[in-house]
């Protein structure tokens, strides 16, 4: 067995994004009832259909039970002890970035997300969400020239109400699950993307989510619509300050791809994971789902999950269109007392659909890292194929790695292949690398990086670097 103390030292790297921005915020009172929902809706000046959508979801949520099937051990959440709306105070309408509170810009600068004009050198448009509201969206004019709409969902409700009304809740219905119902009732902000027919989005789009208040939950909602023959690559990043309390993050992401459209959705999740004793950290209970509605459409999820005390997340694809394609590439790293229950669902409904799943789990410390996935071939999914690969790496003898693949087929003319393996940091490999003059830490990083390569290769260029940085946070050294 590898010298565990050394490995643990490597894995123990402090959380760099744990600072709090001292900024005046507008918060509503704690608690959740119909009035809270009406108040949120009123603050956001929403049309009636959206308020109705929220209230209906709330009614549904009240009848539902919090899911416990994943066996995640956490203290019961008091839903009345959460602030459901918190926003930094600023002028009513912002016409340019110059008017954004400099403290906020500074916060995002510190996080490595440049919002100010002079720093927007990289070819990525950013929507920055701070607690419950979107602060700024960059490159909007350039995107508008191509007909691409990229704005906060609150703005979209005002300016593109028809699209919101048509698509919101069509992929993840309010009644889908407990946390999706909660999100539908109280969602505050998030990003909206619309790519018109035939347009290849000229730059990568990115959202950055920042939780700043310790007592408010974040309930963002993202909706991406790719019209016929369009394509877009969307990146998402998340951080939060260090608090002793657990903060709830229950997001919903809906993707819709029409004929020949393609959406690539990449996430680097680095919410605060709690301290070594498991105190504090974000509860990341997220519902992400894409609908490949059109023929030959494609939705690809790639994720690097390194943060959160508890992650409960299954980015899924509903493959309805003929010959549509779903992909899922994931790296999940857990340490200390973190728990990650993540995986995907590939539901093959249309004929000739194809899906690929590559999941890499790394568990260290006392953490629990589980892959839970569903592959289902419906009765009409003739000529469909799935390939899944789930690998786990265990560091130390206290960590746990589980694999729960659910496989169901109702179509003889389809093929499903699943394979999973578990390995540890091999002493032989370490010895080999060290005997060639490679430092211990670097050798571990190299091995972890090699283990994750299949997934890192799928991340967009701009994000691959960030993913590397994040893994390096946890596994010090030159990962990648």
């Amino acid at each position: 067995m590898v010298n565990e103390n050394l490995v643990e030292d490597v894995v123990k790297e402090p959380y760099k994004y744990g600072f709090v921005t001292d900024i005046e915020t507008e918060k509503i009172a704690k608690g959740l009832n119909e009035d809270t929902i009406r108040l949120i809706s009123q603050k956001k000046e929403e049309p009636k259909y959206l308020l109705d959508f929220r209230l209906k979801a709330f009614k549904k949520w009240q009848t539902m039970d919090e899911p416990d099937w994943a066996g995640l051990g956490y203290k019961q959440i008091d839903y009345q002890d959460i602030i459901y709306y918190s926003a930094p105070k600023q002028k009513e309408k912002i016409s340019s970035l110059d008017e954004v509170d400099p403290k906020l810009l500074e916060t995002f600068d510190k996080l490595g997300i440049p919002l100010t004009e002079q720093k927007k050198l990289t070819n990525v448009a950013v929507d920055a969400v701070f607690d419950s509201v979107s602060i700024a969206t960059t490159f909007r004019e350039e995107l508008a020239e191509h007909g691409v709409i990229f704005c906060s969902i609150s703005e979209a409700v005002k300016n593109h109400s028809d699209l919101i009304e048509k698509y919101l809740g069509t992929v993840v219905p309010a009644s889908d699950n407990y946390f999706a119902a909660l999100n539908s009732a109280v969602f505050s902000d998030g990003s909206f993307v619309y790519i018109p027919k035939g347009v290849t989005c000229p730059m990568d789009l990115s959202s950055y989510f920042r939780i700043n208040s310790g007592d408010s939950g974040q309930f963002e909602r993202t909706l991406i619509i790719a019209e016929e023959s369009s394509s877009v690559s969307y990146l998402e990043g998340c951080t939060a300050p260090m608090f002793d309390t657990n903060t709830l993050h229950a997001a919903v992401v809906e993707l819709i791809a029409l004929d020949d459209a393609s959406i690539k959705y990449s996430t680097v999740q680095n919410w605060y994971a709690g301290d070594e004793e498991g105190v504090g950290g974000i509860f990341n209970f997220v519902t992400k789902r894409g609908k490949c509605l059109g023929k030959r459409s494609k939705i690809s999820w790639s994720q690097v999950e390194t943060g959160s005390a508890i992650t409960w997340k299954y980015p899924s694809c509903l493959l309805l269109g003929e010959a549509s394609v779903g992909e899922f590439y994931s790296v999940a790293l857990t340490n200390n007392l973190q728990q990650a229950d993540t995986g995907t669902k590939m539901i093959h409904i249309g004929p000739k659909t194809k899906s690929t799943i590559v999941s890499k789990g790394i568990s260290a410390g006392n953490s629990i890292n589980s892959y839970r996935g569903l592959v289902k071939m419906g009765t009409k999914a003739t000529g469909s194929r799935n390939y899944s690969q789930c690998d786990s790496m265990l560091i130390g003898d206290q960590a746990s790695a589980n694999t729960f693949p659910y496989i169901k087929s109702q179509q003889p003319n389809s093929e499903i292949e699943h394979e999973a393996s578990t390995c540890s940091i091999s002493e032989d490999q370490l010895f080999y690398l060290q005997s060639r003059g490679i430092e211990f830490e670097e050798a571990i990083s190299m091995m972890v990086s090699g283990f994750c390569r299949d997934v890192f290769n799928q991340l967009p260029m701009e994000f691959a670097a960030e993913a590397d940085k994040l893994l390096a946070l946890k596994l010090e050294g030159s990962v990648g």
């Binding site: 693949p405 109702q410 179509q411």
Partner: protein, 405 residues
């Protein structure tokens, strides 16, 4: 489900033995398994109630073993027939367990039972009267093959229990045959204890007739350096569940499992396995095959549990499935739960139909499509059948499977 009402009201059996009392008591708090639990959620409710719909049979009519003995010396036993077994030869001995030994062992097992996970065993032990519990203590080597039969007669629910102690350095070939007559239900629980350095080739062949049902549960405890090889085959049941629970109590043991279930018409057959490594250097090689045709449903759920103590475990699990009809369905869930870091564990699963390229190749050589399919199926079946002991010479399992309508 009259039987469940009887359990609730404690009116199931007159003159209950102590074991029956304990099990009934455990069942009374939740007479039915939790339908939402992973172990039961896929079970067809109406078929499961078919299983429970028969009244309990305590008087077994005369049962004739369907196959004649061949020249090979085989020891044949029927659970439910009263005989005194005491075979003492130069190299080996086979003796019936005394009532005290049986009681002690079963009670110890029950103390570990989980209401939901061991529901089938609890039901079995609640129903099984003393006559229907066969306990054997086997010792020595060069033991002739043993065949043990369980049988369910028509229009009744039958419970049979088998307890086998394999003493140190003993090795045997044992074939267990479970037969269900038309419209019958059989609850079969088997408890196997392998002492150090013992080894067994265990075959389980279960098949029924029209509308017969089966709950078959197999609990194996393996001590150090023991080897347990299981080959099993289940087919022709309206509803059947085969639950395998194996515990390598101190590691350093070997387990090989090759199991197969074949479903046709509207049958549902499921296999659940749980392999618990409770010590280091454990080994597992598991293959489960399913074939689902017509409107049937085949299920496999296998879990491998490797706690911290089980370092150097080497476990692999493969689920291979053939889906032959548009209306049939297959569910499979091979799962791993690992805490130890120095282990080799892997699993795989595939679902497909017969290989088209192979069929095409055979057809270009002048073999007709039905013949080519049959050839492919026979090689698919043969891998499992050849692993079932004592069956090769006279059980004609392959013919049975290929020619079964």
């Amino acid at each position: 489900m009259e039987i469940i009402e009887k359990i609730k009201n404690n009116k199931l059996i007159d003159n209950q033995t102590e074991i029956q009392k304990i099990c009934l008591h455990k069942l009374q708090s939740s007479p039915l398994p939790n339908p939402k639990s992973e172990l039961w959620r896929l079970s067809n409710k109406s078929k499961f109630s078919d299983f429970l719909d028969y009244s309990i049979n305590e008087k077994d009519p005369k049962f004739d073993i369907p196959y004649p003995k061949n020249s090979q010396s085989t020891i044949r036993l029927i659970i439910g027939e009263s005989y005194q077994i005491k075979i003492i030869e130069e190299n080996y001995s086979i003796q019936q367990l005394s009532e005290d030994e049986l009681d002690k062992h079963i009670k110890e097992q029950i103390s570990y039972f989980d209401q939901n996970e061991n529901w089938s065993d609890l039901l079995n032990l609640s129903l099984s009267c003393t006559k229907n519990i066969l306990g054997l203590k086997i010792n020595g080597s060069k033991i002739p093959p043993i065949e043990i039969f369980s049988h369910a007669s028509s229009n009744s629910l039958n419970a049979k229990t088998l307890v086998i102690f394999l003493e140190k350095n003993c090795d045997i070939d044992l074939l267990q045959v479970n037969l269900g007559e038309e419209n019958s239900s059989l609850s079969q629980s088997t408890f196997f204890c392998l002492e150090e350095n013992s080894s067994v080739n265990h075959g389980v062949v279960s098949y029924g007739e029209n509308r017969s049902n089966l709950l078959n549960s197999l609990n194996v405890i393996q001590q150090k350096n023991s080897e347990y090889n299981l080959g099993s085959l289940h087919f022709k049941f309206n509803f059947a569940r085969f639950e395998i629970r194996i515990k390598q109590s101190a590691g350093n043991a070997k387990t090989n499992i090759k199991s197969m279930q074949i479903t046709k018409k509207d049958e549902q057959i499921s296999t659940y396995t749980k392999i618990d490594f409770n010590g280091p250097n454990g080994f597992l090689d598991q293959l489960n095959k399913s074939l689902a045709d017509d409107k049937s449903h085949a299920i496999f759920e296998g879990s491998i549990i490797v706690p911290k103590i089980a370092q150097k475990t080497d476990a692999s699990q493969l689920s291979r499935n053939l889906l032959l009809s548009n209306l049939a369905q297959i569910d499979t869930k091979p799962q791993l739960e690992i805490i130890a870091d120095d282990v080799k564990c892997k699993h795989g699963a595939t679902i497909s139909q017969l290989n088209e390229e192979e069929l095409f190749y055979m057809r270009t050589r002048g073999i007709t499509l039905p013949e080519a399919s049959k050839l492919q199926l026979s090689s698919y079946f043969q891998e499992i059948i050849s692993f079932i002991p004592v069956s090769k010479d006279r059980w004609d399992l392959l013919d049975k499977l290929l020619n079964e309508k």
